[in-house]
Symmetry: C3
Subunit: 354 residues, 3 copies
Amino acid sequence: QSSVTLFGIVDATLQIGRGSITDRMQLTHSGYNSSRLGFRGTEDLGGGMSASFWLEAGMENDNGQGQATNINNQVSGTGTAAAFTAGGGNGRQGLTFNRRSTVSLAGGWGEVRLGRDYSPQFWNLTTFDPFGTNGVGTTQTLVGSLGGPTNVRASNSIGYFLPGNLGGFYGQVQLYLGENAEDGGAAEDDGRGVGLRLGYAAGPLNVAFAIARTDFASAAAGATGVGTGEITTVNLGGQWDFGFAKLMAHYNRDTVDFLGGEVDSDGFLVGALVPVGAGEIRVSYSQTELDALAEPRTRKLALGYVHNLSKRTALYTTVARVRNNGGAAVALGGSTTAANTNSTGFDFGVRHSF
Amino acid sequence: QSSVTLFGIVDATLQIGRGSITDRMQLTHSGYNSSRLGFRGTEDLGGGMSASFWLEAGMENDNGQGQATNINNQVSGTGTAAAFTAGGGNGRQGLTFNRRSTVSLAGGWGEVRLGRDYSPQFWNLTTFDPFGTNGVGTTQTLVGSLGGPTNVRASNSIGYFLPGNLGGFYGQVQLYLGENAEDGGAAEDDGRGVGLRLGYAAGPLNVAFAIARTDFASAAAGATGVGTGEITTVNLGGQWDFGFAKLMAHYNRDTVDFLGGEVDSDGFLVGALVPVGAGEIRVSYSQTELDALAEPRTRKLALGYVHNLSKRTALYTTVARVRNNGGAAVALGGSTTAANTNSTGFDFGVRHSF
Amino acid sequence: QSSVTLFGIVDATLQIGRGSITDRMQLTHSGYNSSRLGFRGTEDLGGGMSASFWLEAGMENDNGQGQATNINNQVSGTGTAAAFTAGGGNGRQGLTFNRRSTVSLAGGWGEVRLGRDYSPQFWNLTTFDPFGTNGVGTTQTLVGSLGGPTNVRASNSIGYFLPGNLGGFYGQVQLYLGENAEDGGAAEDDGRGVGLRLGYAAGPLNVAFAIARTDFASAAAGATGVGTGEITTVNLGGQWDFGFAKLMAHYNRDTVDFLGGEVDSDGFLVGALVPVGAGEIRVSYSQTELDALAEPRTRKLALGYVHNLSKRTALYTTVARVRNNGGAAVALGGSTTAANTNSTGFDFGVRHSF
């Protein structure tokens, strides 16, 4: 047997959501870190070269289900929950390596990585979010994203990463394929895209910029005000570690270029992580606004605390509140709320990694 | 890599069923112990505290499929086999951690366990069944149960277990959530329940009592004589180890409180495990009777033998026969039988654990 | 923890297909070796006996999905992709142990193996194919097979393997069950079959013969010219290792005995593996012809090269071209092509095993 590392996280969350229409209480998962089970390993090929693999499955440890992936970077690439349910799918979702499924070759020149991986345009939203895009505190810039099926990860991707010895500069570029038949039709390039991220980290500073474009055939906007078409995402984030606190911020803009128009979703976050003894206070303000219809806007304030029992095990709690305007109706914790009303979400949980 | 234990059981069974309508022969699984693949581990947190996780997937090693779980402790929480098949699901069921998926914190005060786990009301049926609720010999008290989706396991659960140093007393309490939207409707609490089990084990004696209640909206009984509504399960079991034989018995009563009535299912088992050399003879008589319609009753006699080739590997065989009355039509081993007729099932297999 | 071996292959392939109707470009998987994740182990029982298990899941590492299995050795045993898609299944296929899922007892007398395993009739096609039935070079004798759901693997199987000390002779016999209800209907034996393979390997020589028969109820042929009915497969293969090259060839004939007729598919392959430094050149010519309708025939020429970076990691490329006659329309690499036209496929990838 070659050396394979088996790793994972089991994070269970008691979550309560309150909205103007319905409330909900759940024992759910991933309130602090995403629950997962993974297998990875690296082989030294000599001459500074190495080969490696990484297979990581998301899981819902509250009920034992796995999570679906997306096979073609298009909406059709993941069966909708509703359709799967109609087909009897409740409770039947098996483990897939939806979080990451890659094989890599690396050397002094960098790394080439093939398979399903995070998209470059996602990293600034999660790295520079005190809540790491998990739980009720997740930055509203992600919740309100127009980034489409590849706003977090892309399948069928070919990635290149800069090597680690560039004096603090880092970067990656990723091509991903929609794999449609090349039949000359308008949708033949759907799901195909390219993303780029460049950053610089040194001492207390970390800043990065990303841009991505994904092809989709144009279709007119309906009642939602957002049509289908080429998606462009641009974002920028950074943090400064003052020691007593790590301040972070990011800005994100998604643009959809649809038939007969263009619409943007603009959002930003400011937040901080404040170490206190064996724990950490987390706080953020984030918002997203759509420049369509009555310009729906959602603003979120989140406050949390993580208490580390060890490096691997932590207790945590988060409370978040959203305020909706312009017709927005975002609700937290599985609740539902009427347009232009508020909603509150609450997480309390335990995260154990292995 | 932290220390993860990878464990499992592969149990293959040649099973034959004979009934008055159709017979069947299968190479199936889990005739002696349930086939599974799991990952578990424990971290010492110091001060007598520990954190641990347990992820255990059922599997059908005769064909390689996984098994579905239930996401909300309601009938809708697991896609029916029929609906999944209509949706093309045959052969497509992936691995889920349907058997157990938990994270725990433990100390001198006991253990808190979160996730999907056995329900307290299940333990007396399986612990005090010589066939451990596997194969054609499975106690009829489980087969004829009215316990609903949580009669074996519950998702979204918060459990507490007494510590192990109480002079032989043991116990657990479990709360589980249905996670429905709180919309004021009759079904908003469906799938929510609580179970309790208390026992005492010392020397040759082991006895335990359990009670559980699960909420469901009331609906009238149809042709089955059993409507939908709050389910209450009460059971009691025990064993005495005489050395030359371990005698065991249990009693179980499920009550459904539906619209316009109430119905009980009453059942009991008496049985024994008799060690003989490297093996063990297993024998049981179990029955269940429903107090509705013509009071359908099914009585089962089961006889088996397990031959241990090692601690991990065993050959086994079981023969069981059911006798149906009052309109019951329970059949064994995948056969079908007419109301009030008999059916016979036969298992022969090998169990290998790792 | 007992000793479990965790093993696998992650093989990522950039694949291009060109046909007369549509082309396609994909980042796919398994162009050289089938991607997989597995768990296996062996227990010494003493006296020359051992018990072992093998659980091996196929996976699509380009997108993280698992692969479906077949539960009953019939067409209905695997949900069709179309039906699963209609049910919302895209991206939802979890891991199953579709490649192999067995438990074995072995001794000086051979091995008994239970579960899902390769069928005996498959081995000659893959062992004596320079491309090992992977990627665009896959022997046309497999692509054009009429062998039905068990032409590669069978579920619910009971296999026996000769021991390894028979002076070069090897062999296996496998029974597999369809597990249908025995209701006296025409289809009650569907999916039940038996296969046999016998071979001899010594020095540079390896030859083997296989025959298998699978039951299916008879139905008349429609527009395809091939009805449903009992399937018989006979094949024969061999190789001679000259040192500078390993020459291999095989012949395969599938016969379907349907209502009102019988149809054969005849095919053969000749090929070679030529070691060159750290790599290997692979070349083959294969063809299959159906003796129905206008006798559709497809001929394939494939040429490839594998470059080993280590024992575990290799780069590879293959180009293959098919020529269709008699109405055949086989296309490569996800392309589509009109009847009687050509199609070209191209693989370039990396295979990493662990």
